[in-house]
């Protein structure tokens, strides 16, 4: 019998063991399940919180940004406009915040047993998908309500891009998250900086305002932010408002692929010895 397990100091930079991740797929599904069922254990309202959170946020945005600041909503009813942005952004931000803390929050497990660490951020992104799905249902309910009450909404063929948009959000947050989590094992300053950045990032993304409020020749500046085109495409496909361009979407997609690639390589390098530095 040949040696089947080899433990050595360092892997080559691009030696990512995807086969191993596949072997641990049962663990992946356990983590997803755990994330979902433990989130609201011992709460009275339970999964209802999935609805309450976006609903309250939407109401707050309606008061602050819609009511007081009077920011345009591209002619859409305010609840619909904000909810569309919130559903997307919240997913992205949740994934980002959780995956970026992968090493620090799981060090007690990582310090005791080995499994491909990538399983954890992957499970986070997946379990948040369920939450996003539920919130999306809320959005659909609001959508149908407005359609029935006679508001003219024009969904179009780009609605079919929806799965791709979700995939891109997942990829972007995973990529950013694992890079940040890899860096925070050594330099904890980043944790503090990063929570701050995520807060600000929302304002650099057309969540509470439409991209069309910017002059057309300046819109590319917002487009540098890879999340911009995803949210705009979502609004455009679902409700026929907003700005859509294949170029910007392609840019975001390329950005995501590159980021995810870098993230996986960095994460893979750090995971093997992070226990010494964390």
């Amino acid at each position: 019998m040949e040696y089947t397990t080899v433990i050595k100091p360092k892997n080559r930079l691009f030696e990512v063991d995807f086969k191993e991740i596949w072997q641990y797929r049962d663990l992946f599904s356990m983590f997803v399940k755990k994330d979902i069922i433990t989130q609201y254990k011992q709460t009275i309202l339970g999964p209802a919180w999935f609805f309450i959170q976006p609903a309250l946020t939407t109401i707050m945005y309606m008061v602050v940004f819609g009511g007081i600041a009077k920011i345009s909503t591209d002619g859409l009813p305010q609840p619909m406009f904000y909810l569309a942005g919130i559903v997307c952004w919240q997913y992205f931000a949740d994934c980002l915040n959780k995956t970026s803390a992968t090493f620090t929050t799981n060090q007690h497990i990582f310090g005791k047993v080995y499994f491909p660490r990538m399983i954890v951020p992957l499970a986070t992104v997946t379990s948040n998908l369920v939450r996003m799905g539920i919130q999306f249902l809320l959005f659909i309910v609001v959508y149908i309500f407005y359609v029935l009450s006679g508001v003219v909404i024009a969904p179009n063929i780009y609605i079919l891009l929806l799965p791709l948009l979700v995939l891109m959000l997942a990829g972007l947050s995973l990529g950013f998250g694992v890079i940040i989590s890899s860096l925070t094992t050594k330099y904890r300053d980043l944790t503090i900086l990063f929570t701050f950045i995520v807060q600000l990032w929302m304002y650099a993304t057309p969540v509470i305002y439409p991209l069309s409020t910017m002059p057309t020749d300046k819109q590319w500046i917002m487009g540098i932010n890879p999340v911009t085109s995803i949210i705009e495409t979502f609004k455009f496909g679902m409700m026929g408002v907003g700005t859509f361009s294949w170029g910007m979407l392609a840019y975001s997609f390329a950005f995501m692929v590159l980021l995810l690639g870098i993230g996986i390589v960095v994460f893979n390098k750090v995971q093997r010895s992070f226990m010494d530095t964390v």
């Binding site: 433990i7 100091p9 049962d26 990582f110 047993v113 080995y114």
Partner: protein, 430 residues
Amino acid sequence: MPTAIKFENISKQYRLGLVSTRTLSHDLKRWYTMNILGKEDPYLKIGEVNDRAHKGTSEYVWALKDINFEVKQGDVLGIIGKNGAGKSTLLKILSKVTTPTTGIIKARGRIASLLEVGTGFHPEMTGCENIYMNGAIMGMTKAEITRKLDEIVDFSGVERYLDTPVKRYSSGMTVRLGFAIAAHLDPEILVVDEVLAVGDAEFQKKAIGKMQDVSKGEGRTVLFVSHNMGAVRNLCTKSIVLVDGKIAFEGKTEPGISFYLNNKLESYNLISKEALVAKSRIKGYALDVKFLDVGFEQNNESFYTNDEITLICKFIGNRKTENIRINGTIFNNEEQPIGGWFGNDLFDINENEEKTIRLCLKNHKLAIGGYLVSLSVGKGNFAEGMVDFDVLHQVTKFNIIGFDSKDLVGYTVWNNRWGNVLFDVDYHSI
């Protein structure tokens, strides 16, 4: 038997002190030297042997240095050593929690490591859910766990609580459940840290029995790390002793244990008496009366069972105190307490006065072996309340080497398994 695991030149370097400061500058220097100048990692050359008793000059230290050994299939290897000798580091490397700095480990088959039982248990999830969770973390598939679920539940003995969240479990139940899962992993190589230290006696027996089954019946390899010499003796067929990150002994279990115990006692000879007193002092006492020096009368640490053992203790008074007593406990070389004494109101002391007390241990009946002595100085008694001024834990050691008489010729070897007391027995034919 073929080799199950092979360690080749395994070393592990750690950086001491505040890891969070100046790491960026070290990282930059390392990167510069390696990638721009094309030289070796500048921090790998430095580093000292890991001896935590002495303050070193380098901030880098070798927790393990050039570890080479092989374990044959079906062996149960005990890894023993003092705290800080590198046992846990070795286990961490084996469990892939961290990587070696240099060297390579090759193994045949799946390695499952039990550095802790119940890793990943989530307090909010039920016992059953946690079996799946923990099993999956350990590398089992869902189907495997389902197949063994009944066995696991049976072994753990917590069937009634399967649908209760684990946070309602007693700590003993949690450990039982955790070990039950681990025991049914069926890896080719099982790595066990001192997890057996928890749980009640019945369960420990069950756990040790299960590990023996695993190695004997199923030909699996077990690596077992423990301070509990009894468990090592019961379980292991071979042993290695680690001293300061290096293998100091490799061989059968019984000589390995002896080597370890002797080595531990020898370390007492290497440092001065003053250093010993300071090192063994338990912090937090008032030190109204303080030990200055502890030693044996003839500067001799070897005694016969029928000898009187005389200790000379030197004190200094930091405050005028009356009716001082000296208590003591004797430990065998496995650090189990085997007896002690309570002193009476022995002496008075004035401020800045030095006093020497001669303490004589009579009719002790201690059998051949190495012993450690702990001492405390204080006043009062259990009835009226007492206070300790200074406590020295295992401050000195002595050896009992035999019986000074021609009648007891058979008494030349003594095994710890026989206990630590040599009884006086009369025989009469009736």
